[in-house]
Structures are given as structure tokens and as C-alpha cells.
């Protein structure tokens, strides 16, 4: 009997050597004459254990990690299949607390199935959502999504069902589904993991969306920095087409489009401009994309996670999903732990965990072992939270109430060696580099902000310049055309507010001379 060994092909796993590990396993098994079948999967999202391989046993899969190619011969000690006695064995992955504590709905299959096996996808519940949608009908499908309480996982948190209904209610000769997979936030990777680990989920989600609103064409807009995801998605589309799950028979097509490296193209309207072949420049709203989106047609533009959550909502019912979470934040959120954190990785959980639980408990504190000083939640434009605010629950409204945002669920941890003035400067510089240049506050303000922050760091009239930065942040917040300029004040002002000492500290630069 052939034993299956699962090795992730997720880019994060490959980055730490999953490919040589897989090759070594194949070589070693062949050398030993063992009947081994290496299956490449997505990642379970336990990044400190990557590359983590899993060996199929009668008692279920057993994990080993972090592996290197050099560890492989030892794995097959005495010419036998790997056993739990090996020092790198982590036991059944499901029993690892990090995974055990999760509520995996969107990521239920990720890391388990062969991403490009439709049979695998189906065997693990794939296409149940679409079937139920078809049996409910288009309008009831939209209703089901509304009832689930699903909100935009890109960060804006707009109710997905309402967006769908707007598109469904708008008459047009053509409508589009656009998946925003331009995952540009630092410390986020959930979209990538789905594309690499469970691409049919996205295809199913988009197909349901198309069915629900009457769209016949979908686009997945993937950032160019995700070559693996692009390759897997393209292949998955071909496979789905071959089985009639996409194409004329399915009355829905998907095209994969690749961005050109602009962060701002993750903003929905500039993404649409880019898809149309134009400069990635933000459009003024109204009109909303739901009324006049891609090529002027009604368009559902959703974050990848939103779309990838839809099949489960349909398959198991809105209630099942809506029962999870807190307040107006229903269901689960894939929290992505990164930065200076011991247990980095993807943690899908119902809304409501506190920031402290996430960082200290789930993340295990910092990787450096020093005290965690600041946590940036929601990407480069998210606010910095000090330890004093670690009681904030992971919830859209709770974060807003504390001048923060949960964004796409990225959590980046910093220890006490961080210089928050430099972080504030970084936010402004990031805005300057990524600004599309359309609106004045962002185009010029980001540059002036960086320059002014340099003056503050150099100790040049810190007080007056901090007042100027504060005014500038008001201009950016209320004046910017999109969230790039509009949210840049979050990291800047939160750093100034919570870590004022970093902005008035006497600097050593002059003394060093």
C-alpha cells in the first residue's frame, strides 16, 4: 500500500525549503523502495513549523517540522516510514493548540487537500455551496449572504449581501464579479494561502456570486508578487473549465489578471481602472462600482476572503456562520500573525478574541523574547496599539472606537526596541511611495509629512512640527480621495498618541559627529 506524505507547496513553506524537502523524500523513498506518494498541499498556516510535512497513518496524519532536506534520511530511520518517535514529530496537527483553538471555516480545507484536485475538493465538501445556491435561487442566495452577516474582509467591513443586492437590482447588459486578490498589506497572506492551497474555493465563491447577481464574467486581480498563486489559480481555472464548472455550460467565466506592483491597486476603484488597462488611479465615488464598475457595468468587487467564505455560508446555512462572532462582526476572521512574534501564522477564529490573547497567548509573545511594545493591526495603514489597549476585542466596531481598524486581519508585533517615530515616518513614506498621485492631500501631503517627520526625528522644532503633522493628518483624513491617504493618519497619530516619548526624545545624530 502506498503511503501519502503531504508537503506544502505554499510560498511561505517553499521560502523555508519545502521544495528540497519534498525532493529529498521522493529520493529517499525510492532509494529505500518504499511506496510513498508525495502530495503537495497548501499550508496549515503554522509558519514557525514550516516546512511541516504530514504523513498519512491509520490514526490520521502526523506532522513533522520544521523540516530540512538534511532531516529527511533520519525520518526514514531503519528504512521504515516516519514514526511519531522522531524528534521533529509534532503529533497530529489538529491537536497542536494553535490549530486546535481555531474555528476553520474559510480555511477548512487549506493545507489538507491537493489544491489542484477537483476530486479532493469535492471529497472535502466542495461545490456543496453552489448546489445549495442553485436550489435556493439567485435572490435567496443574496439573502442568505446578507443574513450570514458577512462583511468585506478587505477592511472596509461593508455588508457583502447588501453589495450583492445592489448589483443584483441594477439592470445592465453585462455584470461582473471582481475578486480583489491584490493583497498588499504588510503582514498579510490569507488571500495567497487560499489561492495556493484551495483555489477551487475561490472559483466556487465567485461562481455563486455570479449566479446570485446575474454576472457572467469574473476577474481575479492578483498582485504580481504572488507568482505561485497566479500559477495555481490559472491552472485551477483550466481544470474547472475542463469539467464544465466554468465556461459556457456554467454560464460563468473567470479570467486571471496580474497587477503591476502598485499598492493602491488594492483600492477597489483603482483596481477597476487597472483591470480596464488604465493607470491605477482612484476613481471618485459615486458612482459606486455596484452601479458603474468595471467597464461602466454593475460590478461586485469583493475581497478574496469574502468570496471564499461564501461557499461555506451557503453549504451550511447563514445561521451557522452568523452564530459566530460578536456584535456586528459575525463569523470568523483569518487573523494573520506576523512581525516579531513567536508563533507566526494564520489563525482563523470567530470575532471577539482580545488583542492580548492574540499576541501573547496565540502568538506566544515576541520571537525575540523581549516585551511586546506595539502591535500594528490592519496593515501599513492600521493603528499601532500599545499594551494598554490589549483588551481591545477583535471586532470592527471595537477597533474603530479606539481609532484603529482590523483591516484585512494582519497583526504585526514589535518589541521594545522599536522607534515609533521612525514607524510614523515609515507610514508617511509608504503613502508617498504608493500614492497614485490623483488627490492633493496624498500626493503632496505624504511627501511633506515625511519631511516634517524627519525634522521631528532630528529634533527640529518638534512641538511646532508635531502640530503641523497633526494638522496634516486632519487634511489627509478628511481630504483624501481614498483610504490610502485617508488611513495614513492611523499609524501616524496612534504612534504619536500612544508613544509620545519617541517623538520628543533628544536625538543622538548630532552628538555622534
Amino acid at each position: 500500500m502506498t503511503t501519502r506524505i503531504f508537503v506544502p507547496r505554499d510560498a511561505a513553506a517553499r521560502a523555508v525549503g519545502a521544495d528540497p524537502v519534498a525532493a529529498a523524500i521522493v529520493d529517499e523513498a525510492r532509494r529505500l523502495g518504499l511506496a510513498v506518494d508525495v502530495v503537495r498541499t497548501g499550508s496549515r498556516g503554522l509558519f514557525w513549523l514550516e516546512p511541516m510535512i504530514e504523513v498519512e497513518t491509520p490514526g490520521g496524519r502526523i506532522g513533522f517540522g520544521p523540516m530540512t532536506a538534511k532531516d529527511v534520511p533520519g525520518l526514514f530511520a531503519n528504512g521504515q516510514l516516519p514514526s511519531a518517535a522522531h524528534p521533529l514529530c509534532v503529533g497530529r496537527p489538529e491537536d497542536i493548540p494553535f490549530l486546535k483553538r481555531q474555528t476553520r471555516i474559510t480555511f477548512a480545507r487549506c493545507g489538507i487537500v491537493d489544491p489542484l484536485s477537483l476530486a479532493d475538493y469535492r471529497a472535502h465538501g466542495g461545490y456543496r455551496g453552489l448546489e445549495r445556491a442553485k436550489s435556493l435561487g439567485a435572490a435567496a442566495t443574496v439573502e442568505e449572504v446578507t443574513k450570514s452577516g458577512l462583511r468585506g474582509r478587505g477592511g472596509a467591513g461593508f455588508p457583502t449581501g447588501i453589495k450583492w443586492k445592489t448589483v443584483a437590482d441594477t439592470t445592465a447588459d453585462r455584470k461582473y464579479i471582481v475578486c480583489n486578490a491584490d493583497e498588499g498589506d504588510s503582514g498579510t497572506y490569507a488571500d495567497r494561502m487560499i489561492m495556493e492551497g484551495d483555489p477551487f474555493l475561490l472559483i466556487e465563491g465567485m461562481t455563486i456570486a455570479g449566479f446570485a447577481v446575474g454576472a457572467t464574467k469574473g476577474y481575479v486581480y492578483i498582485r504580481s508578487e504572488y507568482p505561485d498563486a497566479i500559477r495555481v489559480m490559472e491552472r485551477a481555472v483550466v481544470l474547472a473549465e475542463a469539467e464544465g464548472l466554468l465556461g459556457a455550460e456554467a454560464k460563468f467565466d473567470i479570467e486571471i489578471r496580474v497587477g503591476a506592483g502598485a499598492y493602491v491597486c488594492g483600492e477597489e476603484t483603482s483596481l477597476l481602472e487597472s483591470l480596464e488597462g488604465k493607470r491605477g488611479q482612484v476613481r471618485a465615488k459615486p458612482p459606486l462600482p455596484a452601479h458603474k464598475g468595471l467597464f461602466g457595468r454593475p460590478t461586485v468587487i469583493n475581497n478574496l476572503i469574502s468570496l471564499a467564505t461564501v461557499p461555506a455560508i451557503l453549504a451550511d446555512g447563514a445561521k451557522h456562520y452568523a452564530d459566530l462572532g460578536m456584535g456586528r462582526s459575525r463569523g470568523t476572521m483569518p487573523i494573520q500573525l506576523a512581525g516579531n512574534v513567536k508563533h507566526g501564522g494564520l489563525f482563523e477564529a470567530a470575532f471577539g478574541l482580545t488583542l492580548g490573547e492574540i499576541v501573547d497567548d496565540i502568538g506566544g509573545g515576541t520571537a525575540s523574547g523581549r516585551p511586546a511594545r506595539a502591535v500594528q493591526v490592519g496593515g501599513p495603514l492600521g493603528a499601532y496599539f500599545p499594551r494598554a489597549l490589549f483588551d481591545t476585542p477583535f471586532d470592527y466596531e471595537a477597533f474603530t472606537a479606539r481609532d484603529g481598524l482590523i483591516g484585512h486581519g494582519g497583526v504585526v508585533v514589535f518589541d521594545d526596541s522599536v522607534d515609533m517615530a521612525k514607524q510614523a515616518r515609515f507610514a508617511l513614506e509608504f503613502c508617498a511611495i504608493e500614492s497614485c498621485g490623483k488627490c492633493t492631500p496624498c500626493r503632496i501631503g505624504s511627501v511633506r509629512g515625511t519631511e516634517t517627520m524627519d525634522k521631528i526625528i532630528a529634533g527640529d522644532r518638534a512641538e511646532a512640527n508635531l502640530a503641523l503633522i497633526t494638522d496634516l493628518c486632519q487634511t489627509l483624513k478628511f481630504g483624501s480621495l481614498c483610504a490610502l491617504g485617508g488611513f495614513t493618519p492611523y499609524p501616524v497619530m496612534s504612534a504619536i498618541k500612544h508613544f509620545p516619548e519617541d517623538f520628543t526624545r533628544p536625538r543622538l545624530a548630532a552628538a555622534a559627529e
Binding site: 471618485a284 498621485g437 490623483k438 488627490c439 492633493t440 492631500p441 503632496i444 516634517t452 496634516l472 486632519q474
Partner: protein
Amino acid sequence: MSLVHEIDYGTPASKSAETVKLTIDGNEVLVPAGTSIMRAAMDAGIQVPKLCATDSVDAFGSCRLCLVEIAGRPGTPASCTTPVAAGMVVSTQTERLKQVRKGVMELYISDHPLDCLTCAANGDCELQDMAGAVGLRDVRYGYAGENHLELEKDESNPYFTFDASKCIVCSRCVRACEEVQGTFALTIQGRGFDSKVSAGAFGDNFLSSECVSCGACVQACPTATLSEKSLIDIGQPEHSVVTTCAYCGVGCSFKAEMRGEELVRMVPYKEGKANHGHSCVKGRFAWGYANHKERILNPMIRESIDQPWREVSWAVAIDRVASEFKRLQQKHGRLAIGGITSSRCTNEETYLVQKLVRGGFGNNNVDTCARVCHSPTGYGLKATFGTSAGTQDFDSVDQADVILIIGANPTDAHPVFASRMKKRLRAGAKLIVIDPRRTDIVRMPHIEAQYHLPLRPGTNAAILNALAHTIVTEGLVNEAFVRDFCDLDAFEHWATFVSEPQNSPETVGPMAGVSPEAIRGAARLYATGGNGAIYYGLGVTEHSQGTTAVMALANLAMATGNLGRQGVGVNPLRGQNNVQGACDMGSFPHELTGYRHISDDATRTMFEKLWGVPLDNEPGLRIPNMFDAAIDGSFRGIYVQGEDILQSDPNTVHVKKALAAMECVVVQDLFLNETANYAHVFLPGSTFLEKDGTFTNAERRINRVRKVMTPKNGMADWEITLAIAKAMGFEMPYNHPSEIMDEIAALTPTFAGVSYDLLDKEGSVQWPCNEKAPTGTPIMHIGGFARGKGNFMITEYVATDEKVGPRFPLLLTTGRILSQYNVGAQTRRTENVVWHDEDVLEIHPHDAEERGVRDGDWVKLDSRAGGTALHAHITDRVAPGVVYTTFHHPETQANVVTTEFSDWATNCPEYKVTAVQVSPSNGPSEWQKDYAEQAEQSRRIATKVAAE
């Protein structure tokens, strides 16, 4: 007198019929649904600060100055991009808005040169205005940060400068180039702080880019970044006068912005009903000829054409004209002299010339240059519809669903209207182009013709019959329209005729070089695609079957019911500014004003009574007849006002012979044109800037021309004609052109309501303007045709006698180019020559290769009429077997080659079809050299010293 300031509403007007009531700063406002908050505020007299918004382009929302607060809505939405909603309560001034606006201005000014006092836009700068409006007092960032102050100026365009250091990246220029002009030459290069307005691709400048220099970007620029060079040189104007462009038949309204009597710039007038604030390179910028050193300002005479000119007083010159004309009539009879009116002069001036000929010369030997362009239009549309004019206004194109362009090249020849058309095409209207050349509009940014039928020159009538054949035989006729509005017998007769097999696409297609399927497809699209609008030009009229083709177009429109409402019609695109007017004013030898035949006793009697002279009831000579009669010796003297017949009429050798045969040729013009080489009296003319009057454009719109400066030559053209008349003993006592218009109105039913007072009040009116239509008639033939029932005419195709053969195997067709105008007398004397300084011959690569011709080579172009030489340009824009050139330059004299064949009904010359041969050459032909030498000799002016 002061500057005419037009209100900028920030965003375009909404066309919605629904209205919405809202409150802005405590004021109740009622506006059409879809109006922006910004525009609604402006309607209520509330100015919201703005920089990136201007009402010629769609809202963009980038400057972030126009933010407002709306009760019950979060945030600070931009008033330009946010539409009004019922019951909305808007505040345009709050503490928060004040802070944000000040913050935005502080950022702008932190990257702007602080040279307001020496800036060309000083006093007319929106950035300056906004800094004031928001109360900016300090730039706390300082000026040492990253900036664009060192960016270089792009001065490549001859008329305007792009100073990137002053640019605020509002994209108004880019959007104007896209939305208003439709050229897409400008873009924003780079992103973020590096965003820069850029013409063309990387490495281009304005001149090398696809920029067509229409001025829309300059017009849109809120700062000094894009400024007219004339403005930079002279400074801000202090008053403006609204007037009408003297170039093509679009008839754009401009504000002549003046400093004293010095013209600072021509700025397109938003209220202008033909152009709605848009312009082209000619009208906007190419007015320098008015001050050109070659302009003649003193009258001159000579006894014979081999003598140099002698400058004389006006009295002497006028006396010479009168005495010579009288002498010639005494010696050779009443019919021995005549006159030619000009389509470039005003209606009033044209009217006077024909009045002088009919009343003062006592004959009807008057004709106009419209003879050689749109005379078939007059004849053909009168025969079918009953009125010798186009059926629509320009605005009608906004409602068209299918646009059929035949024999017209609007992006070059009628650029401002073409921009309107392109906008409609980008919005989804379908396009059919019937033209031997692949004109630009066939395929350009965001526009692609559904059908381009590249027919062989000379086969218009056949193709149009084949379209009709398809419509009739496939049952696509609009029977209800035909039954209600057309003569049924004529229709039946016509339907039978076009159904005959010789008119089928399958027969016509191979002969005309067009696929039968394309003909059928185009016919179906025109007949069934919604509102079908036909636009045509000289590519239809300047043929031996010009009139036939015009009637065939009228037949198509009637058969498909595409008449009598917005979005449809048969629309001639008139070449010159006042072709329509010159025709209306009785310039043709057989017609008095309003197209009434001279033999009609009632009409003639009316004129005789008012003018106090008897009129000849026999039509006079047409231009070609005048030439023939001159060579015969029976026609001895001519008064040519503002028209260069030697360069513009066909078969130059023949025209030259005719002119040389005359004893007294009187030329009235700005310059010593080619015709003046054969003149005995030269009367210096005045420019459109120097006189009052009216021009009538292609949509029958009578526009006012207003005097903005004293005539440099001492007299307006109309005054010169009055002086001649007086000297001939035929008094025409007018003190002002308005009195001439009053007389025209009194004598012409279609003009009965027209007066300068009405024009001042309405801006412009479209004739018919009378008791039935007191403010004019934008769309003709609503609910019935002017002639009663629409008349289908039989339009049998007869091939031209101008045939290719072994000696002349290619077909030459001619046209014009954007930057040059007609014979080029004006545009050649402007900076427009940077775009086109010579006529070139377009030839297909196959034909070029066969002849060993390479791109840029000198080639000889010969027909049986004559030959010339010019440079070749190899392009597949023309089909094999067809060559093309323009006729703007006297050095080339393209009309040496064209023949004397002409339209059967009107003698309109067949410019568009000449059988030619092309062969390699090593320079200008002998004829060209002789001609140039003769012209130089002829233009000598004796100096005053020598004369004493």
C-alpha cells in the same frame, strides 16, 4: 468695455428633466436630477472652492478643495462628484472644511513657484484665487522640501508653453484632451509626487506628440502652466469682444481678448452655440496672418501685369476700377464684366457684391466660390427637400445612433464639430465611413468604424444606390414615414429603379472596390440602427455626379425616415466660414437671396423696387463660363472679392489663360494672392477682426462678426464695395452692416426676422427665422418638408469621363489637412506651417514600389491637364491605385493637375477624381519654376522713391 467673464459651474449641466430640491447653506435650490452639489451651489450663487473641476469636463474629485458636509452623512464628500438628492442639507463652509481647505492649499503652495507678480497668469489664476478664498497666510512646511520648481518648460508648441513647474496636476488638461477634444495626446506620467502631465509617449514633447493644438488644455488650465505665448508676451487682456471665427464652416464663437486694439488671444466662447467653448488650432491660434508683413495695406494699380505695382490712394484706385469697368461695358457690352463673391466674407459683403453686379453692372454675371464646393448641395437638397441647406443643428449629433460620414474628413476639416461627433461615438454611436482614404476617424482612440467602405474615387452615386438597393430589397424602408411625408409616385419610381440588378451591392461592389457584404452591412446598420445621421463634404459634391450623390443621400434619409427630428438628417459640412451664407445671399448667377430664381417676376420686381434699378431676368455667367468667355474675348473685366480663383479653381493653366486675357482684373484681398498676379487693380481687404457683419455656418446659424480693431487697410470690405458702386453711379447708402442685414431681411422670407438686435439678444439664430420661427429653426422639415412632399430623385450612376488608362493609371483625389485652410493664404502665414509646410503626395506602397519611389522622394504628378512635382509619402491610408494630396500651397499648385470636368447640374468641378501618373523626379517641374518666377515678377511693388 470689459472682459467677458463666463461662469464656470464646475461640472457639466445635467440633462435630466426631473428636478430635485435641496438646501445649500440655508438656501433652497431646485436643480435637475444628477446635478452635482457644486453646480447646484453655483446656481444659487454659492461658490464652492475648486481647482480640478471645470464645467467642460466630467467631475474628477482630485483637488479636494470642494469638500462639503451633508447632514446625516459621514465625512466630507467632494461637491463636484456628489450628485444632489432630494431633501439634502448641505453646508459648504464649516470649521472642519475651512481647516481641510487651508491644509490642501498649504500643500499646493509648498510646491509652487512664488513668482505671482511676474507670472503670465497674474490676475487670471485660479490657484491664486483659491489661496485667497481659503485665507492661506503661511506655508509651515517651508520651501526647502522636494519640489518641481526646476522642471523645464516645454516651449515646442508654437502657440503655447507648458511650464511644468507651475503645474498642480489637476488633470484638467488631460481630461480636456480626452473628453472635449478626443485626441488622448496627454496623460499623467509617473505616480504619487512624481505625477507629471506628459504629452505623448516617453521622450515626446507637445509638438512631437499627437497633440493637435486645439487649445482645449490651455483653456482648461487653472494656472499659468499652459499659457498662450501671446499672453506671455503681451500680458493680460483688458476687454473682450465676442465674434465668430473666419475659418471653416463650423462657425465657432470666440472672445477676442484685447488690449486696446491689440489682440492678446482668441478664447473659445462657451455660449457659442456651434462650438460650446471648444476650438481648433486654426481658430484658436492661427490669427497671426492679420499682422503678417506680407499683408497689403495700400491700394495699388498697374496698366499691365508685367509692370510692378504702384501704390495709390483709395480714390485713385476706386476711380480706376469704375472707369475701366465702364469703358469695358461701353466697348464690349453690358455683359462684358462680372464679379465673384467670397465665402470668406460676411453675408453683408457678399450681398453687396451681388447687388453691385446686378444693380450697378446691370447683368447677372455674379458667382461665388461655393460654385466649386457646395453648389450640388444647394441644388440636390432643394430638389428633394425644398431647402438648399443642411437639415440639422450640430447639437443633433448628440442624439445620433448611427453616424454615416461620406466624402468628409471632419477631424481635419471641421475639427470642432468632429470632437462633438467623436464624443458621441465614444459614448456608443455606430460609425460608417465611406471614403477612398482611411481617414483618422475610421480608427482612433476609443473609436472604430463598424464599416469603412474604401470606394474608388468617382463611384459615390453607385455605392449610395447599392445602399438604397439593400434597404429597399431587404424590406428596410420606413414605410410610415414615406407614406406620411413623401411623394409616393416618386418613391415607387425610385424604389423600382434602385431595385434593379445594376444597383445591387453584388454588381456595384466589385466595380467600386468594396465588398458587397460591407455595403449590405452598412445599409442595414444605417436603416435599422436607430437615429441615422448623414454628414458629408466635398468628397460628395466635387464630382461629375456631385448633385446625383447629394440627392442619393437625401433619398436614403427619406427612405429610412431619418429626417425631421434630433439625431438624424442630411448634413453638409461646409468648407469655408460663410459658404452657406454666400449661397443664401444670392451669389449665384441665377438666384436672388433665399434661392429665388432671377426669372421669377414677383421676386425680381421686389428687388427692382427697393434697389431702384431694372434687373436683367436672364441668369448670368457661372465662374467656368466666365473663364471660357474671357478666352473667347467677350468677358473683359472682373471684380474678385476675397477669393483666389487661380489657386483654387481646377485646371490652373486654363484659369491663367482666362485671367491673362482680361483687361481689368480687380482683386480685393489681404495678400497678393495667385490671382493678383494677373490683376490690374489691387484693393487691400480687411480681416474678420476689422469689420462688423455676419457669417452663416453649416447648420444655417447666423453668427455675428464684430469689429475689434480699426481696419489696418483703412476700409472694411463692405465699404470698398460701396465705394466702387458709388463710382459706378449706383449709390448704396449704408452706414453700418446692420442696415444691410435689415435690407436682406426685408427682401428674403427665410431671413425676415433677422436683425442685429435679435442676434445680440439670442447670440445667434438659424434660418429660417421669420414670423413662424421668431428665434430660428434648429431642425428643418419637422412634420413635413419645406417643399411639401419629400421628392425621391432618380440617381442613375454614370461613370465619369475622367478614366484611368495606360498613360494615367492612377486616380488622384484631393483634400485638406487640419493645420492648413483652403488655399492657405491665411494659415501659411502663421506658425501652422510647423505641422504642414508643403503639400505631399500620399501613395500606396505597391504603387510606389512599382515606380521605384521611396518615402520622401520628389515625384512628378501628371494628368492630361498639366503636371507638377512634390514629395511622396508612402502610406496604406490610400488604396492601391489611388493617390492623394492637399492644395494648400501655391508652390505645388495641385490644381494644375485637376481637369475641367464638372458636375452635370451645377458645374461644380470634379476635383476629387483625376487620372494621373506618378513618376520619380529630381525637383520641382519646369512649370513650377516658371510659375514661381512669374509670380515673383508680378508681385513687385515700385517703391515710393522710384515713383516720384
